[in-house]
């Protein structure tokens, strides 16, 4: 009985979906899968903000559904299947770890569109990927970090050893080094996207070791809250502006601005122009915003950071411009060469000067 119902609804879902794509749709059900809670104040909060922008842009023509705290792995596949069966026309999976589940479920539902954030696998025609060039923002942060540190020790709370995170670390380090040749970078791997207590502990470990500028690649505001306890330690907002720490340690931030992309993609589905793409916009495209640089940063450093931001936006400067060597001393980019996207998306090495190994 149960199975029959399931099959029937699956068939119906397919039928409903299949008629729709060639000529656009009257109404789109857009679904979002979140890795953390919306209340994280960072990564998931920004994705949900993007979803709300879609709702605001199309009103009645779009129905939003979302699920929070979906673990990366087998559970994700169940959630995705359920969403596809539940009539979702387009499903945004908003974390790297959903890559394989997204492609697996996409194979079973060829008429549902899947959009996977920060991944690189597009095994089926209905899977698109989208990402933002966060490393551009990291370059600006790195510059500020290099100029602002007094102990010449800067820290980075990393989540998982994936290209996305590694390229952020490299970009951060390269620009800190450029601003201050004496700078040393400590990287702590938290192996979580969201665990406020652990993130706070990681920040504390860094501060205990003399680090006075902390960047985080995890989702909560806990590292900033920890930094606020020690005088003279500064940090950055990650994924969201985290403006509530403006009068504390937060001196700037990287803001993920997914709204325009979500609005564009759902709009394309509505008017029938939807195509599979691999989107990777940065500061220029408005997906990465640099949050206000506060008065704690001296005016000249602020001006330099903003000039760097503007040069990246204008396309006159690429954060990975040679000569750059890999950590083991072998050459990566020659003088004046810029990193091809393929190298960045598969990045699995630190650049020369960073101490420590990437966990395998």
């Amino acid at each position: 009985m149960k199975r029959r119902n399931l099959l029937a609804s699956a068939a119906m879902g397919l039928m409903l979906a299949s008629g729709a794509f060639a000529q656009g749709m009257d109404k789109v059900k857009a679904c979002f899968v979140y890795v953390g809670p919306i209340g994280d104040g960072g990564w998931t909060f920004q994705h949900h903000d993007g979803a709300m922008q879609v709702q605001a842009a199309y009103g009645d023509k779009v129905e939003i559904q979302y699920q929070e705290n979906v673990p990366e792995g087998a559970d994700a596949e169940r959630v995705l299947t359920q969403m596809a069966l539940g009539g979702c026309n387009i499903i945004f999976t908003t974390s790297f770890g959903y890559m394989d589940p997204t492609n697996a479920v996409a194979a079973k539902f060829p008429d549902v569109k899947f959009e996977h954030a920060t991944g690189f696998k597009r095994d089926h025609a209905n899977v698109s990927t989208y990402n933002a060039r966060f490393y551009e923002g990291r370059a600006v942060q790195g510059h500020i970090a290099g100029k602002m540190t007094k102990s010449n020790k800067i820290g980075y709370i990393a989540s998982f050893p994936i290209p996305e995170v590694i390229m952020g670390i490299n970009s951060y380090y390269l620009h800190a080094k450029k601003a201050n040749p004496a700078v040393e970078l400590s990287v702590v791997w938290a192996f979580t996207w969201f665990d406020p207590a652990k993130e706070a502990d990681a920040a504390k470990a860094l501060i205990d070791q003399g680090v006075d500028v902390i960047a985080a690649h995890t989702d909560s505001t806990a590292p900033l809250a920890e930094a606020a306890k020690t005088e003279g330690v500064i940090g950055f907002g990650q994924a969201s502006d985290m403006a509530e720490y403006k009068d504390g340690p937060r001196v700037s931030s990287i803001i993920d601005n997914w709204g325009p992309y979500y609005v564009k993609r759902v709009g394309a589905l509505l008017d029938g122009t939807y195509e599979q793409i691999d989107a990777w916009e940065g500061i220029a495209g408005g997906e990465v915003l640099i949050g206000e640089i506060t008065d704690k940063v001296p005016a000249d450093v602020k001006a330099e950071a903003e000039a760097l931001r503007d040069a990246i936006a204008a396309g006159t400067y690429h954060p990975f411009t040679g000569p750059i060597n890999k950590q083991d001393g072998s050459a990566w980019l020659a003088e004046g060469a810029t990193a091809p996207d393929g190298d960045l998306l598969g990045m699995n090495f630190f650049v020369e000067g960073i101490v420590g190994d990437i966990p395998q």
Binding site: P196, E244, G356
Partner: protein
């Protein structure tokens, strides 16, 4: 004073603070389990305590009131468990798991609007003169009052369970509820009070996370600390001082692995992350090997409901 780039004094001082939430929760659960009740809802009670404490502290501006609020919130939630298992005789394992899920959900709902607010700070208790002493300063005198409270509670519970009449009654109820009943003790009422006490301790531990350790509110802030607290109770074979050791061990390894990374250690972090759990298994194996038949000193009536008609 550095060992491989890590200052052991700061490390010990940090681990004492980071172990407080699991220590408080595990102490509470120890009493609950000694009374023969298995409450797997520690995580739920902690997260409710974290939220309750946070809200009270923000509203009143007093962190002490916050901790009391956290304890009350945890105790109130645990009373749901007590009502279900002691009055309606529901299965304790299932009810405890449900309590965790319920607590996480309710706290997420109740916490709407509290994101990004900063609670009043829980400061260092003793004056800087003492805390600035070399070596002993940071370890013995540099903490907030909750750290001292947690150690004090360990001593008090050890004494109460071991040498007082109340402790004897609690243990009697946990070892053989029929015998305790025959002696005229109100088994379910005693258990209910133990459950409320355990809830208050877990709530306070949760409040420490949201008020002192992280200080802020985000959904799911306790992130599994309650489960570790449950493991520690077994690890400690239901004895308060061993709970303290277990909590410091677990807290210490967490802090140590992060510090080792910063110091550029060559030991892969995965091994250190596994270590506390491996040690738990090892301790369990060693302890159960020692005594045949009886598993490492668990209360005999653990997890069994009691009704006077039987």
């Amino acid at each position: 004073m550095d060992l491989g780039g890590i200052n052991p004094v700061i490390l010990i001082a940090t681990l004492m603070a980071s172990a407080v939430p699991i220590l408080l929760a595990a102490l509470g659960e120890t009493v609950v389990e000694r009374a023969g009740v298995l409450n797997l809802g520690v995580e739920g009670m902690m997260v409710i305590g974290a939220l309750g404490g946070f809200i009270v502290a923000v509203q009143t501006g007093s962190p002490v009131m916050g901790f009391i609020g956290g304890a009350v919130a945890g105790a109130v939630l645990s009373l749901i468990f007590a009502a279900l298992t002691q009055v309606f005789l529901a299965n304790q394992v299932a009810t405890g798991l449900a309590l965790t899920l319920f607590g996480l959900g309710v706290s997420s709902l109740g916490g709407q609007g509290y994101n990004g607010i900063k609670p009043p700070p829980t400061g260092q208790l003793l004056p800087d003169v003492l805390a600035d002493l070399p070596v002993v300063g940071p370890i013995l005198f540099g903490h907030d009052w909750v750290v001292y409270f947690s150690i004090l509670m360990t001593a008090v519970l050890w004494w109460v369970l071991k040498s007082t009449r109340i402790g004897l009654i609690i243990r009697a109820v946990g070892e053989s509820h029929e015998a305790a009943h025959a002696l005229g003790y109100k088994v379910n009422r005693i258990r209910l009070m133990c459950i409320a006490f355990g809830g208050a301790m877990a709530g306070m531990g949760g409040a420490y996370v949201s008020l002192a350790r992280v200080p802020q509110w985000v959904d799911g802030i306790t992130a599994g600390a309650g489960w570790i607290a449950l493991a520690i109770v077994v690890f400690a074979s239901w004895k308060p001082w061993r709970v303290l050791i277990g909590a410091y061990l677990f807290g210490g390894i967490t802090v140590l692995q992060l510090n080792l990374q910063v110091a550029g250690s060559i030991i892969p972090v995965e091994y250190l992350s596994m270590a506390p759990y491996l040690i738990t298994i090892l301790v369990l194996v060693i302890m159960s090997a020692g005594r045949k038949g009886k598993v490492n000193g668990a209360p005999a009536a653990l997890g069994q409901n009691f009704h006077a008609s039987r």
